[in-house]
């Protein structure tokens, strides 16, 4: 949070979203807290990465932020104004967001031309003459402007994703949320898209929220990184600091589980596997939600929920022991 009193571009305050679910084989309804008390902020021109495994709530959070889902509780403020304010003010604020989805083929109308799809955000704003803007945008994302006349199926996966990015950026949004936007692409294309996003950010100053299960991809694009587990933020840090020193045992496990293209490193890898699976978010463990899989867990963790505390320089972590000496040992076992 900036200390000079200016308002951040995006503030998410104590955001919660619950879903009522019918549990299999039981008549009772359960409550799934997909996003449970998440707060974050984003500055103009900045990228925030959100990483976590399936079921951690990262996609729900994405949909909440862009206004595709209404929160159960909490607020989302853009330039200090609530996106769910009633009437034109709220609508206007929700327009400042755009989203890029995982599957580029499924997120474009197969019957319309690429150009028609890309121009849609402009038409939604009431702008009729869009051809020139579409041409400029397609060029900017590295596509031949003639692609505007093609149908999505005539484009390759990488080209489709470039077109989705063009669509997201054409109406000059303040924030683009990427939900696993490179996950369905081949490795050589993933790197192309990551580089494109870095270039576009430099050129246009757009802020990104980049959501992925792939820690390396998140780090490649983000200024700051947030790690989620079972609906909660367990760590938030500057990405350079995070790269050298993740503090939460779950962040460390994620990092250790990220396989590197280096056989010598991989052979030396210590056996610090997390046991078990992610518990059900319908009945999350009491105390620290990670305690069932944590190598450091004590009685305290089973009883008392750790709060997200600042360990210095805005590096937030929700762990009773993060940064203590017993923990450093666990880290060093990771790579012997």
């Amino acid at each position: 949070m900036p200390t000079d009193g200016t308002i951040p571009l995006l503030q998410v305050k104590n955001l919660k979203r619950q879903f009522n679910v019918r549990q299999l084989g039981s008549r009772e309804n359960g409550v799934l807290r997909a996003v449970d008390d998440v707060s974050l902020h984003l500055e103009a021109g900045e990228s925030l990465g959100i990483v976590g495994e399936s079921g951690c709530g990262k996609s729900t959070l994405a949909r909440l932020i862009v206004g595709l889902l209404e929160p159960t509780d909490g607020r989302i403020l853009i330039e200090g104004g609530d996106i769910w304010a009633s009437g034109a003010a709220g609508r206007e604020r929700r327009r400042k967001f755009q989203m890029v989805f995982q599957n580029p083929a499924g997120s474009m109308n197969p019957r319309r031309t690429v150009g028609a799809s890309v121009s849609e955000p402009l038409q939604a704003k009431g702008i009729r003459k869009t051809a020139e803007a579409v041409e400029r945008m397609l060029t900017l994302v590295g596509l031949d402007p003639q692609m505007a006349d093609r149908k999505p199926h005539q484009l390759s996966g990488g080209q489709q994703q470039r077109a989705s990015i063009a669509r997201a950026l054409i109406a000059d949004p303040a924030i683009v949320v990427h939900d696993e936007s490179i996950a369905s692409l081949d490795i050589s294309l993933q790197a192309q898209i990551l580089n494109l996003l870095l270039d576009l950010q430099k050129e246009l100053g757009t802020s990104y929220i980049f959501i992925s299960h792939d820690l390396a991809a998140v780090q490649a694009i983000s200024h700051r990184v947030i790690v989620m587990y079972l609906g909660e933020v367990v760590e938030a840090s500057d990405s350079t600091v995070f790269a050298s020193r993740p503090l939460h045992p779950y962040s460390q496990a994620l990092r250790n589980a990220t396989l590197l293209p280096d056989p010598i490193h991989e052979r030396a890898r210590g056996d610090t596997l997390l046991r078990g699976d992610v518990p059900s978010p319908i009945n999350p463990p009491v105390g620290c939600r990670f305690h069932t899989r944590c190598p450091l867990a004590t009685d305290q963790c089973r009883k008392q929920k750790p709060s997200l505390r600042d360990t210095g320089d805005g590096h937030l972590v929700a762990c009773h022991f993060a940064g203590s000496s017993s923990q450093t040992q666990v880290v060093s076992e990771g790579v012997a």
């Binding site: 299999l24 495994e53 399936s54 390759s156 996966g157 990488g158 080209q159 081949d186 490795i187 050589s188 294309l189 993933q190 790197a191 192309q192 990551l194 580089n195 870095l198 270039d199 430099k202 299960h213 792939d214 820690l215 390396a216 991809a217 780090q219 490649a220 694009i221 983000s222 200024h223 990405s239 350079t240 995070f242 790269a243 050298s244 496990a253 994620l254 990092r255 250790n256 589980a257 990220t258 396989l259 590197l260 293209p261 280096d262 056989p263 010598i264 490193h265 991989e266 890898r269 056996d271 596997l273 997390l274 699976d277 992610v278």
Partner: protein, 337 residues
């Protein structure tokens, strides 16, 4: 490891006759897997790696057909076998693990029922229940009796994939073929499943043909690697050598295009372009349109030839002893901050 290979594939060519003409998905692929060895078959989508695995198993979906080549499993030719005989060998001498455990398991039957089927298809006498429970315990399932009675939907993705691995290994095959076994799993679960596969294949001396697009998985699991591009193997080498000194521009580019988690907000060098349309392959070297090293020699199609000890590459340049000296476009790593 001086005995004969468990699997020998020679000049395998598998073609699909589609509305847009014939597509040769696998084109003259040859490789061997030694007993107990893990060979990685790596490539991006459309490179032919999965079709190669399907061909080995005799499971090429229509309209695909193996048009040429030989596949020997334990010395006997799989392509001349009748269906009945093929069924007898498949699952017994060669187990398989597919990418998606939800579709590899039947949702209407208990896990134990399905494992029983896998055993009794090949062996009707043994104590089936004990074997099922032992196999489930081997893949780290707590309380195997209870797990055998449960249905796939009652399990998590990681648990299901453990069941699929247990089924693949249950007849103690000499070869296990795993097609993207961890791609559908979360990273922490992927680490568990890979470690399990490594332990199991080591303990049983099982050879593993591991198909993946993930270079991290390759580095973690494989003894040797074959890299596929546009239906062909373009490079083959022991794992350390491949990562340390790749001799094909495609492998080189692929390895460099993986983001480094230790260096945030840095641009990653990329391979330009995208893989070719298999119905309209470029003439000459198939990688030529994306290759920064290409010259006039590349008009002719190169063969896969030795470039070093146990190291083959399909590239005129490295076959000639020339180095893949870094050019600007490969090494460019601008700071993006």
């Amino acid at each position: 490891m001086n005995n004969r290979p468990v699997l020998r594939v020679e000049n395998l060519t598998t073609r699909f006759h589609t509305g847009q003409g014939a597509v040769t998905a696998v084109d003259g692929v040859s490789f061997e897997v030694a007993p107990g060895e893990t060979l990685g078959l790596v490539g991006e989508s459309g490179s032919g790696k999965s079709v190669t695995a399907m061909s080995v198993l005799g499971l090429v979906p229509k309209p695909g057909r193996i048009v040429r080549g030989a596949i020997e499993l334990n010395g006997s030719d799989m392509l001349t076998l009748r269906n009945e005989e093929l069924r007898r060998r498949r699952g017994k001498e060669c187990g398989m693990v597919f990418q998606n455990p939800m579709t590899a398991l039947n949702p209407s039957f208990s896990v134990g029922w399905q494992m029983r089927e896998a055993i009794t298809a090949h062996d009707k006498r043994s104590d089936v229940d004990t074997r099922i429970h032992r196999a489930l315990a081997d893949v780290g399932m707590p309380d195997p009796q209870r797990q055998a009675a449960s249905f796939p939907h009652q399990m998590s993705g990681g648990m299901r994939q453990r069941v699929v691995i247990a089924m693949g290994m249950i007849n103690d095959p000499q070869l296990l073929i795993a097609d993207e076994p961890t791609t559908a799993l979360d990273v922490t679960i992927q680490a568990q499943v890979l470690s399990l596969m490594k332990t199991l294949t080591r303990e049983h001396g099982t050879a593993l043909l591991l198909i993946t697009h993930n270079m991290g998985v390759v580095a973690n699991m494989c003894d040797r690697v074959a890299v596929m591009y546009a239906g062909e193997i373009v490079e083959e080498a022991p794992v350390d050598e491949l990562f340390a000194s790749s001799r094909h521009p495609y492998t080189r580019g692929l390895l460099r295009s993986i983001p480094n988690p230790d260096r945030p907000r840095q641009k990653t060098p990329t391979l330009p372009g995208s893989p070719p349309n298999m119905a309209q392959l470029p003439t000459g070297c198939r990688f030529r349109p994306r290759c920064v090293f290409a010259d006039s020699r590349c008009d002719a199609h190169p063969d896969l030839l030795a470039v070093a000890d146990r190291h083959k590459a399909r590239c005129w340049k490295t076959q000639n002893g020339e180095l893949l000296t870094e050019t600007k476009s490969l090494t460019e790593t601008t700071d993006a901050n």
